[in-house]
Symmetry: C2
Subunit: 596 residues, 2 copies
Amino acid sequence: MSYQAPIKDMLFVLNELANLQQVSQLPGCEDATVDTVEAVLEENAKFCGEVVAPLNHPSDKEPSFWHDGQVTTSAGFKVAFQAFGESGWQGVQHPQEFGGQGLPKLVATPCTEMLNAASISFALVALLTDGAIEALLTAGSDEQKALYLEPLITGKWTGTMNLTEPQAGSDLAAVRTRAVPQGDGTYKIFGTKIFITYGEHDMAENIIHLVLARTPDAPPGVKGISLFIVPKFLINEDGTPGARNDAHCVSIEHKLGIKASPTAVLQFGDNGGAIGTLVGEENRGLEYMFIMMNAARFGVGMQGIGLAERAYQQAVAFAKDRIQSRDLAGSSGPVAIINHPDVRRMLMSMRAQTEAARALAYVGAGISDIAHYHADEATRKANLAVYEYLVPVIKGWSTEMSENVARDGVQVHGGMGFIEETGAAQHYRDAKILTIYEGTTAIQANDLVGRKTVRDGGAVAKSIIAQVRATEAALAEVQGADFAAIRAQLALGSAALEEVVDFVVANVKSDIKGVFAGSVLYLKLAGIVLGGWQMARAALVAQQKLDAGQGDASFLRAKIATARFFADHILSGAGGLRSAIVDGSAGVLALDIEQF
Amino acid sequence: MSYQAPIKDMLFVLNELANLQQVSQLPGCEDATVDTVEAVLEENAKFCGEVVAPLNHPSDKEPSFWHDGQVTTSAGFKVAFQAFGESGWQGVQHPQEFGGQGLPKLVATPCTEMLNAASISFALVALLTDGAIEALLTAGSDEQKALYLEPLITGKWTGTMNLTEPQAGSDLAAVRTRAVPQGDGTYKIFGTKIFITYGEHDMAENIIHLVLARTPDAPPGVKGISLFIVPKFLINEDGTPGARNDAHCVSIEHKLGIKASPTAVLQFGDNGGAIGTLVGEENRGLEYMFIMMNAARFGVGMQGIGLAERAYQQAVAFAKDRIQSRDLAGSSGPVAIINHPDVRRMLMSMRAQTEAARALAYVGAGISDIAHYHADEATRKANLAVYEYLVPVIKGWSTEMSENVARDGVQVHGGMGFIEETGAAQHYRDAKILTIYEGTTAIQANDLVGRKTVRDGGAVAKSIIAQVRATEAALAEVQGADFAAIRAQLALGSAALEEVVDFVVANVKSDIKGVFAGSVLYLKLAGIVLGGWQMARAALVAQQKLDAGQGDASFLRAKIATARFFADHILSGAGGLRSAIVDGSAGVLALDIEQF
């Protein structure tokens, strides 16, 4: 159950597909040279593999526990998080002026993947802290930035996102938590928040809660929500943690997975009011929270990819080790089960989906960097639109695929996979949260349909499809059955995606429920077509390098074979998804509620 | 989390699709009149819903535990199993001469579904006992039958299957357990068996282990395996349990799911030898064990269907109850989430797959009854061949679909689904064993390809496809978009299945690994096409009844809509599976082992 970061594949994707070269020439990204990035990745891989990965299974068996308002995290978490902060890993993508490394998102992304492959439960504290940092960087006052950013970026403190309330679930319009102005610039916060990841723990000296609440005169619904900083310990003049604030953890949840990560119920203001300060302007809280959420959504996509890689590695190791039954083609005795074709099929499926999702996410990260750092505003804007189209796909598809991969990981282990000691089952349990939190797949799909497709009449989607078509043309120039198969399936996939985009745009007004009945299927279709596109691009690069006698031939040939597998086994599902979206809404919506 | 048996759908399937009328006219099945069957189902539904279903979630939280060789099962299990036996539910399909009810498999099948929907962990003791009964009925001596059958059939004792050993997994050729003849007709058994479901428990006064072992002169491999009865307590002259046998439970497993069902490691013969008697002839153990396994495989398919139904009911109840966010088409406030199209899509997918798998399994049970009871040998033989083709599909596909359904069940619950108290997560955990035990899906698929397709050159498969085509012709006679859509997808599906059968038969000799690389996909394709066929048949019947003004119009319309959903959303995947099977083996097999 060890974890070896797939540095070779990561560097291949960064350099050959995600334009690291171009990103490193952007203003502010000059430190991200190919050599530096390789060194950062290797150092991070060492930390994640040696310090964090060994904690993953033991911390599942001995999860965080609550006693009398305090949460004790699993053995090793506190020390590992201290090392994480001190080594600068919380700060990879954050500004140097606040103690970060100031590297582009494209470099932080493989680091995020590695940390999550090592332990999703552990990585969550960093993910939430990243979100708090992003929100403060965007909307915090200079004073707030000076007070909070450096301790968060250096891992001395951690951050949380407080959205959900018992009666509200994902529906933020229903938020009831109150914020009462005290006349001195502070507010008193009263309310209950649930599902607060790392809402209480013992790994850092302070916890900075970012809390959605309503001021007394706020309009109803999502337009009346403001964002507040509510630290667990109020901050002294000298920046050190002082008096305990009135924000308390009353319980943590008993969950299916990510058990080491404490999921808190937080009670604000039961003893007079929790003191908070407003972030930005009143009633703009949702907007700021979306900054955290968008960063976190991409991050959850990376959790899916990290988990999938870990499950894949574990399944491969088991399949090479486990001797059972003879080879179908004949053998003198039983062989390692990796020789059995269906085991091989599952491993290839795990591998192909993980590589495709990784490539798509890293490409997205590179586009995000261009959208942030490029000198030209029009270029920034165009790239931002593409990135924003990709975020729900990266979150939704990478996490949905991680469930399938974790499932296959158990299946490869057979009966041993069902025994908790083996560790494969933990991935299956952990994966299930990824399609739910930071917005379920359906919420990602609503975003993809509404804000990302309908709003611009499908323009960005079509611009991406045009790029897929260019890759198809390039595939036609290469000889061989692999490339013919990849091209054929990619062409079917892009045609299906284009038809679906047209269907969505054309029908959303006349038949909104019919269109949204297929929203998740559209997200999945976009995932496999865009993931398949990246695999096709990867195969083209691999063939060029092989032709030129460059690089590791075994790695490059495996990349082509994996792209071929993805085309025949994953992309081949595009037609069925197209049918279900375009023809399938009648069946979805036919029953009256009483008929269920 | 209550469970209401879907009696209406069960009776519809029994009467309209699975030929209960015809089965009840078979010699020996005369008791199974429509009225009797309805009464049996209602009584069973009451027992399962009121006595067993309430135990499911508590027993997951407080599972069976081992102490000093004894296993204490979860609260309520012992009393419920006593009631189960006394009410005659263990004996539904077993001979009246040994205390059973002597009803056909077609009637026992919905009872099995209900018990498993109520609690898979509980139902397993009955499933394993059924297997032991089947093996003894087929291969036991008269003395053994007289000694063991009545207590097993009346639920006083329970049975186990002892196949797996630590070093062997699913590979029975590697079985090492030894059986040493004592010259008095008994054998002493020495060895270790693992993964023994209900290998030790406190719910019955004796446990009858059926154990695979090798006699001293046995040939190597699967041809040298014999089957032995090894009771936990030796049987006194008067048939009561006597001295403790040397078969002891040394531990039970800590599992992902079905936690209330104890999975034992059994040690035979550590204190001088466990006394056993041979079943049937030496070296024919595997053959007898296959009798148990085939019955058990069908039973595990029913576990998948029962679990899917339970998960569906729970998701529907939550979706009707949970109020969140406005309706897409506009509403004055938040609405129940069942109104949101993607929730509706997931519920329909859960429902459609469950109904299709139920219909296919019940139809299979009816065919099995004809194969057993029909007066004409040729008819028996023909039906047996069809049943044997269906068994791996019913086991493999019903359980694979149950994983998807349980997954969607959690997803419908959103964040609440990830909290163990909600109960949805238990189904997700429990489901994962079903595709593994009694032969993984890959093992079912090997059976489907090898013994069930290649051996007869695809003849049985083609005969079934011909029946599907007859249904397609009938669909063409009915007006309306629903029937056009169902027919279109069924035609694509049956064409894909036929092409795959031809591919398998044509290529298995020249490219055995290439064919087996697609074996699981072939099984899934057969599942969706044959499940879709049953849904199409159901829709035809429903329309006839609606036209004739018979029956419950709401139920019948829902059946047509559900069949339409199945066609557009599930059957539409047939083309992708076809591609992956026929074109996809290159990608599966391209990598060298070192490249993983």
